[in-house]
C-alpha cells in the first residue's frame, strides 16, 4: 500500500449564519494516497465542497474549522502559518474551482494566467514562464496552443477553459490536486474527454487527486475510491467496484437504484428515494443519522446517535442496519 499524501481526520466545519453556527461538515475522515483518485460524492448541502475548501484553508469568511486535523506530509495544514499555507497552495496542493469560466480573470490572456503561478511562486519573469505554460497546455491536449495562449476567457469554450484550468493547476507540479465539480458545467462529449485527461495526468505524475462531484455515475468511471457524503457526514467509503456493486449504506444503494440504466422498461416507473435532502439549517441539530427521515431501513437507534463506522477490507459504512452484502 502506498503512502497517504493527505489524511483528514475528524474534520468539522461550521458556518456562521446570521445568529448561529451551523455545522456543514461533521467529523469527516478520509485519506488520499499517492497515485489514486478519491471521489467525494454528495448532493447539495452534503458538505463536499466545504470539505475541499477546508483542506486548502480557503473557507469563506464566515466559515471555521472547529475540530479535526488535515495531515499533508505529516504536517497539520490547519496549524500552518498563513504564509506557509500560501506557499504550499499552488505549489504542492493545487485547487481547480467550479465554473472554469468565472475562475479566470476576463481581462487577462489565458497564456499569462496559466504562467502566473510560476511568476508568483518561482519568481520567474513572464517571458521565461510562457514556454512552460505552452508546454503544459499542449500536455492537456490542446492542439492550437499559440491561439489559446493569446485568447481571452470569453473566446474559448468551457471544455477548453477547463483544460487551461488544469494546466494552471499542474504548472508547479503539485502532489495533490483537488478538483471541484470539474465536469458538471460541460457537455457530455467534453465531460468524457476531461475525465480521461484527469485520469491521464494523474497517472503520468502519480498524483493524489480529490475529485468532488454530485454524480456518482460519472466519477465511477475514473475514481479509484469513492467517499459518499450526506448531510455533512461521510456515510460510506470504499473502492469504486465495492461501492458500485456491493454498497452497504442505504443511501448509496438508493442512489444507484434510482439512476437510469440500460434494460429498464420504456417509460416504466423508476425506483426512487423518498423525501428531499435535508435543510442545512436543521441537519446539524440531528443527533442521529441525517439520512434517517428518508431511509427505508431506519431502526430506533438511528435517531439517537450517528452510527459508528464499520470496516471490512477498506470498505467502510456508517449504518446500524446496513444493506446485506450481495
Amino acid at each position: 500500500m502506498t503512502a497517504s499524501v493527505c489524511e483528514v481526520s475528524d474534520l468539522t466545519v461550521a458556518y456562521h449564519s446570521g445568529t448561529e453556527w451551523l455545522q456543514a461538515v461533521r467529523s469527516v475522515s478520509f485519506e488520499v494516497r499517492r497515485g489514486e483518485i478519491l471521489a467525494v460524492v454528495g448532493e447539495t448541502g452534503s458538505g463536499k465542497s466545504t470539505t475541499a475548501t477546508a483542506v486548502i484553508r480557503m473557507l469563506p469568511a464566515n466559515g471555521r474549522v472547529t475540530s479535526g486535523r488535515v495531515l499533508f506530509d505529516g504536517r497539520d495544514l490547519l496549524t500552518l502559518s498563513v504564509r506557509d499555507m500560501r506557499r504550499l497552495r499552488g505549489q504542492e496542493i493545487a485547487y481547480v474551482p467550479q465554473q472554469p469560466m468565472s475562475a479566470f480573470n476576463p481581462t487577462m490572456t489565458i497564456g499569462r494566467q496559466v504562467a502566473e503561478p510560476l511568476v508568483i511562486h518561482r519568481g520567474m519573469n513572464e517571458r521565461k514562464a510562457a514556454p512552460q505554460a505552452a508546454h503544459r497546455l499542449k500536455e492537456m491536449g490542446i492542439h492550437d496552443v499559440p491561439r489559446v495562449m493569446h485568447s481571452y476567457p470569453h473566446q474559448l469554450s468551457g471544455g477548453m477553459l477547463q483544460r487551461a484550468m488544469i494546466a494552471t493547476a499542474m504548472i508547479c507540479q503539485p502532489r495533490l490536486l483537488i478538483l471541484d465539480e470539474p465536469t458538471s458545467a460541460l457537455d457530455v462529449t467534453i465531460q468524457r474527454q476531461i475525465l480521461s485527461l484527469i485520469k491521464q495526468v494523474q497517472a503520468d505524475y502519480q498524483l493524489a487527486v480529490i475529485l468532488i462531484s454530485h454524480d456518482l455515475k460519472v466519477v465511477s468511471e475514473v475514481a479509484d475510491r469513492i467517499l459518499v457524503m450526506y448531510g455533512g457526514r461521510g456515510v460510506e467509503v470504499g473502492s469504486t467496484p465495492d461501492l458500485m456493486n456491493a454498497s452497504r449504506h442505504p443511501y448509496t444503494r438508493g442512489l444507484l437504484r434510482s439512476t437510469m440504466r440500460a434494460g429498464l422498461d420504456h417509460k416504466s416507473k423508476l425506483a426512487s428515494l423518498a423525501g428531499y435532502p435535508p435543510n442545512p439549517h436543521e441537519v446539524d441539530k440531528e443527533p442521529g443519522c441525517p439520512f434517517r427521515p428518508r431511509c427505508p431501513r431506519a431502526v430506533a437507534e438511528c435517531a439517537e446517535r450517528f452510527p459508528p463506522g464499520a470496516f471490512e477490507d477498506g470498505h467502510g459504512w456508517a449504518c446500524y442496519n446496513p444493506e446485506p452484502a450481495s
Binding site: 458556518y15 449564519s17 446570521g18 445568529t19 451551523l22 456543514a24 461538515v25 454528495g42 448532493e43 447539495t44 448541502g45 452534503s46 458538505g47 463536499k48 465542497s49 466545504t50 475548501t53 469563506p60 466559515g63 465539480e181 454530485h214 455533512g232 435543510n279 442545512p280 439549517h281
Partner: protein
C-alpha cells in the same frame, strides 16, 4: 455546493422583518422623526410661525424663544419646523412623483422596445439635458414664482433619471427565466411589469429615492433662496435663509438654525439611503 445552499436558506432568515427592525431601529427612527415633523409640525413647535411681534425682533435665543426670533419677531424654531414641513414634504412629493413617472415611462420603454422605446427615451434625453435652474426661471417668468413653479420645474428634470434606471433594470430583468414563465402562464405585459418586475426594482428604487430626497431639499431651498420658490412670509427654509442673510452679522442664530435643519435633512437622507443599500446587498447577493 454547501456554501450556496446555506446562502439560499439564509435569505429566509433575513426576511424575518421583526428581527430586522430590532437590529436597525435607528434609521427607522430617523425616518419616523422627520415624517412626524412633516405631518404634524405643531407638535414640536406650538408657536404660530406667522405671528408677528414687532416689539421683539431679532431677539437672541432665550427661555421664551429657544432659538430666538427673526426680523419680524416671529419665533424662529416654529418657522424652521414649519419650514421642514414645506421643504421636506414637498421634496418628497417631487421625488415620489418623479419616480412614479420615470418608472412607468422607463418600464414601458424597456418592456415594449422598438419605436415606443426610441420615442420615450429620446424624449427622456431632451428633459435630461435641461438644467433645472433655467427651467425654473423660465417657468417663473411665465407663471410667476411660487411653490408650484418649483414642483413643476424639479419634477420635470427629475423623472428622466428614474426612467433611465428603470429601463436598464427592466431590460436586464426581462431576460430572467421567471419573466418568460409568467408570459407562458398568460400574464399580460402590464401585469408582468407590476407583479413581477416592480418588486425586484423596489430595493434599488427605494435607495435612490431616499438619496434624491436630500438632493431635492437642496435644489428646492436653493430655488427659494433665489426667490423663485416659496414667497415670504411662507416659512420655507430657503426663503428664511434668504430673509436672514442680510442679518448675518447682527443675528447669528437667524441663518444658523435653518442652515442646520437643511444639513440635517440632507445627511439623514444619505444615511437612510446607505442603510437601504447595505440591506439590499445583504439580502440579494
Amino acid at each position: 455546493m454547501a456554501a450556496p445552499a446555506l446562502e439560499v436558506h439564509a435569505r429566509a432568515f433575513q426576511r424575518a422583518s421583526i428581527l430586522d427592525l430590532a437590529r436597525h431601529w435607528w434609521p427607522v427612527a430617523l425616518i419616523a422623526v422627520w415624517l412626524l415633523i412633516v405631518l404634524v409640525p405643531g407638535l414640536l413647535a406650538p408657536q404660530d410661525p406667522l405671528a408677528v411681534n414687532t416689539l421683539n425682533i431679532l431677539a437672541p435665543p432665550s427661555g421664551e424663544h429657544l432659538f430666538g426670533t427673526d426680523h419680524a419677531g416671529r419665533d424662529l424654531w416654529a418657522r424652521c419646523v414649519w419650514g421642514v414641513r414645506y421643504s421636506l414634504g414637498i421634496s418628497i412629493l417631487i421625488v415620489v412623483g418623479a419616480a412614479a413617472i420615470g418608472t412607468v415611462i422607463g418600464g414601458v420603454a424597456g418592456l415594449f422596445r422598438g419605436p415606443v422605446d426610441a420615442l420615450l427615451m429620446r424624449t427622456t434625453d431632451v428633459f435630461l439635458a435641461f438644467p433645472y435652474l433655467i427651467l425654473a426661471i423660465a417657468i417663473a417668468s411665465a407663471v410667476g414664482p411660487g411653490l408650484t413653479t418649483v414642483v413643476v420645474a424639479l419634477t420635470a428634470v427629475w423623472w428622466p433619471g428614474y426612467a433611465r434606471m428603470v429601463r436598464g433594470q427592466v431590460l436586464a430583468l426581462k431576460e430572467l427565466p421567471f419573466v418568460e414563465g409568467a408570459r407562458a402562464a398568460g400574464t399580460s405585459t402590464l401585469m408582468i411589469l407590476f407583479r413581477h418586475l416592480l418588486p425586484h426594482l423596489l430595493p434599488q428604487l427605494s435607495a435612490r429615492l431616499s438619496m434624491d430626497v436630500g438632493y431635492a431639499v437642496l435644489a428646492m431651498t436653493g430655488l427659494s433662496f433665489l426667490g423663485l420658490g416659496a414667497q415670504p412670509p411662507t416659512p420655507e427654509l430657503g426663503t428664511i435663509i434668504a430673509d436672514a442673510h442680510s442679518h448675518l452679522l447682527s443675528a447669528w442664530w437667524y441663518t444658523t438654525l435653518p442652515g442646520l435643519f437643511v444639513l440635517a435633512m440632507v445627511l439623514s437622507s444619505m444615511v437612510v439611503s446607505d442603510w437601504l443599500e447595505a440591506r439590499n446587498k445583504s439580502q440579494f447577493s
